[in-house]
Subunit: 440 residues, 2 copies
Amino acid sequence: MSENNEFQSVTESTTAPTTSNPYGPNPADYLSNVKNFQLIDSTLREGEQFANAFFDTEKKIEIARALDDFGVDYIELTSPVASEQSRKDCEAICKLGLKAKILTHIRCHMDDARVAVETGVDGVDVVIGTSKFLRQYSHGKDMNYIAKSAVEVIEFVKSKGIEIRFSSEDSFRSDLVDLLNIYKTVDKIGVNRVGIADTVGCANPRQVYELIRTLKSVVSCDIECHFHNDTGCAIANAYTALEGGARLIDVSVLGIGERNGITPLGGLMARMIVAAPDYVRSKYKLHKIRDIENLVADAVEVNIPFNNPITGFCAFTHKAGIHAKAILANPSTYEILDPHDFGMKRYIHFANRLTGWNAIKSRVDQLNLNLTDDQIKEVTAKIKKLGDVRPLNIDDVDSIIKDFHAELSTPLLKPVNKGTDDDNIDISNGHVSKKAKVTK
Amino acid sequence: MSENNEFQSVTESTTAPTTSNPYGPNPADYLSNVKNFQLIDSTLREGEQFANAFFDTEKKIEIARALDDFGVDYIELTSPVASEQSRKDCEAICKLGLKAKILTHIRCHMDDARVAVETGVDGVDVVIGTSKFLRQYSHGKDMNYIAKSAVEVIEFVKSKGIEIRFSSEDSFRSDLVDLLNIYKTVDKIGVNRVGIADTVGCANPRQVYELIRTLKSVVSCDIECHFHNDTGCAIANAYTALEGGARLIDVSVLGIGERNGITPLGGLMARMIVAAPDYVRSKYKLHKIRDIENLVADAVEVNIPFNNPITGFCAFTHKAGIHAKAILANPSTYEILDPHDFGMKRYIHFANRLTGWNAIKSRVDQLNLNLTDDQIKEVTAKIKKLGDVRPLNIDDVDSIIKDFHAELSTPLLKPVNKGTDDDNIDISNGHVSKKAKVTK
Ligand SMILES: [Co+2]
Ligand SMILES: [Co+2]
């Protein structure tokens, strides 16, 4: 090691390689629930507000059972006052005896509360709009009225011995003092949870963190969060909320909900397993995600998005030669998410012009052929050349490799290897194959 | 206003309604580039690494022209050393005379640099893996070697008078001191940009903010960021990077890239227009997003995800009765994104059991029929009842409304209205219609 090397002293660490998780919880977040969160699945409430959703009783029960089996902590259902069948379905799901607690979601109104508590639910989620917009254009009520209704509804629901959550709607456009005031009031009465909702899907992560941290200093109950995904931040906002001290996240399968939906169950699992792998693996049946997503996608007649976390068709596909090389050497190089956790498989896409010889070498091995590294580099060049002309499929590549291999193996041709002494000839599958020494 | 009203003093603000944007840049972020960012579109580089991508020359040129027309600042192309055709295509796109600057993306190696500078590009993006994982399993080089190659390549590219960016790969798993050390070195030599890359797609927003803020204190050049989307945070990470002082974000159309891709162009525009509406509207042709997405989706044979920001089929569809009511009164209640900015339309989904009478009233108006509010509530109940039995379509609802209206209009039936004195009969479209007084 020379002295004129300006990087030497800092780059090659003398300490043992750290085993800490670079994507784990931030130690500075002493209120963090990243390793202690709960899921409220709202596929049967928020998800019913998705444009394409119509769930009959049977489908609702099938979805509820699948979510329960997966391990969600709560299942939220459409208000029993939404329609007569909604009420009957709510009662039917309460009778299933699931491990997950059953919630229903109502307006902050005694008429709704009286119906809700009779359905057999374990808890009631109350929501009211507190932003100027919703107060003006939705319900027309002022904060005094909101507080008064909230207290009445909460005390009534509590008197029935079931859980109660009070949430504002459009929380990020509500006056902060109004919000804290009403949350403090309902916390004192003894709600189980207060909720923050980004109803319009425009909050950003640091804004979420600040609000949750502030709220956490005002209430002693748990904080639940609900994030819409209009600006693509619903998963990140959920994560950041947990960092700030929120405990429960509203999700739905594939994120279905109003407009383009909310935090998706599968995507949030991808996010959380990176940060809290032991907690997530021990609590949720991750390999069920694909089935649940297919169940719901079929029910609402959509396709799984091509770029869906975990289950998108290419979520674990590696293509560029340089990526494939490293992935073959150690999957962790380009993949923190382990596909096996989700019952999925890794795929190296080698049939294209960006391929590299490491990916082709892997294919040669799969084909049970033997080529030297130099030979593999030669056949890789042939593959890339064809890949420049047109899209390739696996058959194309396999043909090129097999042709190349067959030519090499024909005794009339001059051997390509440079005289290593342990070469020998295998005969397998009708091919005469040349077993080459593999250089390290 | 009574004194025993504990919310009175704080809830009804005496100040004028604030016109500030609750989703605008955080005033505490004095290095923020939220209102001053640039886009590097990498559809023709990162996007070419998407499993399904094969772009021939013609398609590359079509995509490059569309991106240029939209207004991206840079277009990044696959390395000219990836294949012979890649080099030719790079040269062809450089000759188009686009407003956007053309970049190509190479390994940190003189062999690559020599080819790149001859293609006619405006700039070269150099990348090398600095994490232990990539150093061990990808290129096998130590930090001294990396720094030495970087300096050589950077000085060579600069000598040709073109832009140069130096980026690490897998930055969030790299040793922080190593990273800052090498960035400081290349900044001193005079690179145009340094890049941070979340190659494995597992960084979280506050982690991104911290790293960018730290890096910003070490370098004077611009910072570019590249975020993969494996855990669904690529848009949020990009936003938070801008808050921390990054200037340029790598995007691709629909986010296509390795695995499930990177920050999507359209989704980032949804995020940014909320925070910096004037900047975004003045700089980018937002109404072109749909066409560009369709162009690329066709080329790589995928569907636009159902839940895609902006262009997903339901991105501006409102369903629940309570949402529809407020949206009809003022779209801003549930919609910060204005669909018209993107050449899209808002849609109120009224044909379902969750519908409310405000949505049905809007449909009655569209049908040019006249019903009192009480009548609309009555017909809404009929619609919800059928909606409980099966999925509805617009024709179902229209038939129920028209039948209801026709029955009312038949003289044999007892009038439903309660004797307002300004009722009168219109005859239009062959229907006898009853023009009712509409209560406010
Ligand atoms: Co919602
Ligand atoms: Co990338």
